[in-house]
């Protein structure tokens, strides 16, 4: 071995001068040290001795270093950091395979996760195969070791056929690194999510599995153990058919119930988060700051049930972002189970929805109670869970949509007037034909109900109506009002559906119409006029939801029924045909649709007169068809007629008149008659704001359309406030990241940029990139378009733009996307797909 120069006596490298030689010296030392530690420890002494023969200072230094090494223990081991698992398989659990630790011979790796690694191991005594879970050394701490000792024993006392037993816990040591571990029963089975993926597994079998899981959770709850991390990957479907729950109480043992401490592995985390209850995120409204109790497990059970029965989770987190996932869980209502699993019965839905209620006081009080209700369902007995009352749902609805609440009052008033008139009409004209007493009773009952509801408005409170209080108060009366009166109850549900429909909450509308339809089918028969009304209304709702096949089937049923019940030319029959025609363009049948509409129009003019509302709506729809076909002149003529007749029918202060005027303004825009269009847009917007309120979607449509006109008139500064207004409405009623909101922001930014306000535009685009990333994904074409717009607005030095281009071309974007585009309008048009495009058409509909 060559001599090492300048060895200083205390063995420390010289740090003040001679860096190069000190460095070289240290490099040599490091090499020797590395060789030494790779030797078995009993041969290290010989290694040092040999070195001492040639260089005693060097050997002394190595000896000292090796002593520090031996004493280093957990020195500088990352405090918690080793739990960072940046990519699967980056750690090397296989390095453990074959080793024996504390009497467990490690056979193979079963799984790796953020918390650690699970091995299959062979225990020496008693001789058996076990699952050995190693906690990441980074998670190890004195506190953890203490908890292991304190609580491990309690966990080991959990004995239940549905629980994978914990045999022992221990604090292991591998080469000086502490490795806390758990020894668990080795369960041979597939994770629940894989079991559930089997399509031949029927609903009853799934419910039976859920019962078994809930019973296991109940057992643990009786022993005072909360699982805290229930999710399908923690449940194994054993070959005996009985699911086994793994890792009971382990989350707490590892102190991992705080979402933040689990935030070390994005993929794992989001997967886990979605089974966690709102209160686990420290949501104040959930009743505690991160305080977890048995009801949190009930929630997770409910989410698993939801997934098992519908194949999807109550909350989707398309962006995969942690923050977004948490926000959704904490803030949003889970959609009813049957929206995704229509074949699931109402009872089952009630059970699942009760289990995942955001308010834990409304959940089952124990896992046993949940299991019992599932069992009642299997046995065909009445279940304990009650659907949340409509009043309760509406209360929540109102809480969610504070922005639209002002609009509801107007809607209700319109509705109420219509009902009262309808009741009167029914009295007069249809008494004989309609088995009058029933119908009149019903409409009278519904009217009375609505009148009572409106009567709660305190006229002294001025113009603003607290619609939440109104609805809550009124709906508490539903059940007592209509006990044993399914026909009346159906009528109320139908009206609730209409309220929701008018509020554009089509999901809720569909729910109410479905209830109404079911009640009417049962009480009146499937061919009763009232049943068919619900069928048609439900069809319209489904069409709005984009469920065109369902809508078509429903329309077909309504048409056949009304034809034979009311006749070919009856107003209601024609309305169904009109609805069907409006649905046709979705299938690309434009010509066919228009022909059908014209046929309907002719019949309506004949039977209803050319000034009737239904006739005018059909006319408006024909105008839209012409417009779609770029026959702008023709569309304009029709719309003018339509507007004049609505004016004659309803007067100026009516939403329909304003909507018709908005259509006229739009057609003038199409024809390039910009200043006329400007005037009409102003009148339409004022009319809508007056009649529907400033927060209504149709008002937003008018503002947006007006803004687009002003952009084309190159009056950019004037256009901006209209987009701002439309955007504000949509941010309130659709949400800040909704695609329609994004489309409007895009137009606003574009108007700013075109008007030379580049800095503002850039800022807005910047914001939009964020939001678009959340909604569509960061590498989505739309997001990239916006990002490119931002770059353009910044008027960047070329290098920056090129960087961006380089970056985007690294993504999956074709080069064509990167070419600066002059076709701004085209780009904006493509920002939202056609079926989601902001309603540029006035919304005319009639049921």
């Amino acid at each position: 071995m060559p001599d090492v120069p300048d060895a200083n006596p205390d063995g420390k490298p010289n740090t003040s001068s001679g860096d190069a030689s000190a460095g070289a010296r240290w490099t040599r030392m490091s090499d020797l040290f590395g060789d030494a530690i790779e030797l078995p420890s009993d041969r290290r002494a010989a290694f040092i001795e040999q070195l001492a023969r040639s260089d005693t200072t060097l050997s002394a230094e190595l000896d000292r270093l090796l002593r520090f090494h031996a004493a280093a223990g957990a020195f500088l081991e990352p405090p918690i950091a080793a739990s960072l698992q940046l990519g699967a398989g980056l750690d090397a659990p296989h390095a453990f395979v074959g080793r024996t630790i504390d009497g467990y011979r490690i056979l193979r790796t079963i799984a790796t996760g953020g918390m650690g690694v699970v091995f299959e191991a062979e225990q020496e005594s008693p001789a058996r195969r076990v699952a050995l879970k190693f906690v990441h050394p980074g998670l190890a701490s004195r506190a953890l070791s203490q908890r292991l000792v304190r609580e491990g024993a309690a966990l080991a006392r959990l004995r239940h056929p549905g629980i994978a037993q914990i045999f022992a816990v221990g604090n292991g040591d591998v080469d000086g690194t502490p490795f806390p571990y758990l020894v668990m029963e080795l369960v041979d089975g597939k994770p629940l999510n894989e079991v559930a993926a089997d399509p031949t597994l029927g609903t009853r079998a799934r419910v039976a599995m859920l019962i078994a899981i809930a019973e296991a959770v109940q057992h643990a709850q009786e022993k005072g153990v909360i699982h805290r991390d229930l999710k399908p990957s923690n449940v194994l479907g054993a070959p005996d058919g009985r699911p086994r729950v793994l890792d009971f109480g382990v989350a707490r043992l590892l102190d991992a119930d705080s979402p933040l401490s689990m935030a070390t592995m994005p993929g794992m985390l989001v997967g886990t988060l979605r089974y966690m209850s709102p209160e686990q995120f420290g949501d104040g409204s959930g009743g505690g700051s991160g305080e977890v109790d048995t009801r949190s497990d009930i929630y997770s059970l409910g989410v698993m049930a939801y997934e098992l029965l519908s194949g999807r989770l109550p909350f989707d987190a398309p962006s995969g972002s942690i923050a977004e996932t948490i926000r959704v869980i904490v803030e949003c209502e889970p959609p009813p189970l049957r929206r995704f699993a229509p074949s699931v019965g109402r009872d089952l839905e009630c059970i699942v929805m009760k289990a995942i209620d955001r308010d834990r006081n409304r959940r089952y009080s124990s896992a046993g109670a949940l299991a019992a209700d599932f069992q009642r369902f299997l046995d065909g007995e009445p279940i304990e869970a009650r659907p949340a009352t409509t009043a309760y749902q509406l209360t929540r609805f109102a809480a969610r949509h504070r922005g639209v609440v002002a609009g509801i009052a107007a809607t209700l008033l319109v509705l109420l007037l219509g009902l009262v008139l309808y009741a009167g009409e029914a009295d007069r004209a249809h008494r004989e034909a309609l088995r009058a007493t029933d119908a009149a009773n019903t409409s009278q009952a519904v009217s009375d109900f609505m009148v009572r509801m409106m009567a709660r408005v305190d006229p002294n409170r001025g113009g603003s109506v607290d619609i939440r209080a109104l609805v809550r108060g009124a709906l508490d009366d539903i059940a007592p009002s209509f006990e044993a009166q399914p026909i009346q109850a159906a009528a109320v549900h139908n009206e609730m559906g209409t309220i929701f429909y008018n509020l554009r909450d089509y999901e809720s509308a569909a729910q109410e119409y479905e209830i109404a339809l079911r009640l009417r089918d049962a009480a009146l028969g499937p061919n009763a006029e009232a049943s068919l009304d619900s069928v048609n209304a439900l069809g319209q709702t489904k069409a709005q939801l984009g469920h065109h096949d369902e809508a078509t089937a429903l329309y077909r049923r309504a048409l056949d029924g009304r034809r034979s019940l009311l006749g070919e030319d009856a107003p209601k029959t024609l309305i169904v045909r009109s609805n069907m025609a409006v649905a046709l363009p979705v299938e690309g049948k434009h010509a066919e649709a228009e022909a059908m509409l014209r046929e309907v129009l002719a019949s309506q003019e004949r039977t209803l007169g050319d000034g009737a509302k239904a006739t005018l709506i059909t006319m408006g729809n024909i105008a839209s068809a012409c417009r779609r076909d770029r026959r702008y002149e023709e569309a304009y003529e029709l719309r003018c007629t339509c507007y004049e007749r609505f004016l004659a029918l309803n007067g100026r202060d009516h939403a329909m008149t304003a909507i018709a005027e908005n259509a006229v303004a739009q057609s003038l825009h199409d024809l390039g008659r910009l200043s006329e269009s400007d005037d009409r847009f102003r009148a339409a917007r004022d009319g809508l704001a007056r009649t529907l309120g400033p927060d209504h979607r149709d008002t937003a449509v008018a503002e947006n359309n007006w803004g687009e006109l002003l952009v084309d008139a190159r009056r950019f500064d004037e256009a901006v406030p209209h987009f701002v207004a439309a955007r504000a409405i949509h941010e309130r009623i659709s949400g800040p990241d909704h695609r329609v909101t994004l489309a409007i922001i895009n137009r606003q930014a574009s108007a700013l940029a075109a008007g030379g306000r580049r800095a503002e535009a850039a800022e807005l685009y910047h914001e939009l990139v964020e939001r678009s990333g959340r909604t569509f994904g960061p590498s989505h074409g739309r997001t990239i378009d916006v990002a490119l717009s931002e770059a353009e607005a910044i008027a960047p030095p070329l290098s920056r733009l090129r960087k961006r281009c380089w970056y985007y071309s690294k993504r999956r974007q074709p080069l064509s996307r990167l070419a600066p585009s002059n076709a701004r309008r085209e780009r904006h048009a493509s920002f939202i797909p056609p079926n989601e495009r902001i309603a540029a058409e006035p919304s005319l509909s009639e049921r």
């Binding site: 520090f68 081991e77 739990s83 750690d91 700051s289």
Partner: protein
């Protein structure tokens, strides 16, 4: 002017991966600011009752700056390398301020205190470690890097190997040598003093 942190980070990361040291240096202030901001916001009571693991912080910064953009592990590794340096600077500055202010009298508990405490849990004196790391850097840049990655960003040895392009064995050896040397530096000095 509106810059675009996520893009900047992605581009800079890619450049750093390609061997552009200047890019890595320009990343540092971005990551630094992000970490400080996150530390402040997380601990400003938004997660009262939770102790924030520092790695969650680093990870939070990662998610915020790079997000779900598709990045290669190599890019991510570079991010963590930069984050390690940023974390080190933040903590060391903080501990230094803390000690100075302690002498001056009353001082409210700050956001970074919890994190610094977590790092000092194993009775490590961060300032002594910082100084020793600087000395180690003169001896072996590579070993100092390994320590930063292991200790401040929490990378596992295989991950460190990926980031530095060294073999796993070499990382193990560097880590062990650096650790023993640092322990000698810090504790040996304590004992001598």
């Amino acid at each position: 002017m509106a810059t675009h942190p996520a893009d900047d980070v992605t581009i800079l990361l890619a450049a750093a991966t390609a061997g552009d040291d200047a890019a890595a240096n320009r990343l540092l202030p971005l990551v630094y600011e992000e970490l400080r901001g996150l530390a402040a916001s997380y601990l400003r009571g938004e997660s009262a009752g939770h102790t924030l693991p520092p790695t969650a912080l680093v990870h939070g910064a990662y998610l915020k700056l790079v997000g779900q953009r598709e990045t290669h592990w190599k890019d991510r590794g570079h991010f963590f390398a930069v984050a390690a340096t940023a974390m080190r600077r933040i903590l060391v500055n903080h501990v230094r301020d803390r000690r100075r202010l302690k002498r001056g009298g009353d001082r409210g508990r700050e956001a970074l205190d919890d994190i610094a405490d977590r790092f000092e849990e194993g009775s490590i004196d961060l300032l002594a470690l910082d100084a020793a790391l600087d000395r180690l850097r003169h001896l072996s840049e590579r070993q100092a890097r390994v320590v930063e990655l292991r200790f401040f960003a929490g990378l596992t040895p295989p991950q460190v190997a990926e980031v530095t392009g060294e073999s796993e064995r070499s990382v193990h050896r560097d880590w062990a040598a650096a650790r023993a040397w640092l322990r000698g530096e810090i504790e040996g000095k304590d004992r001598d003093a």
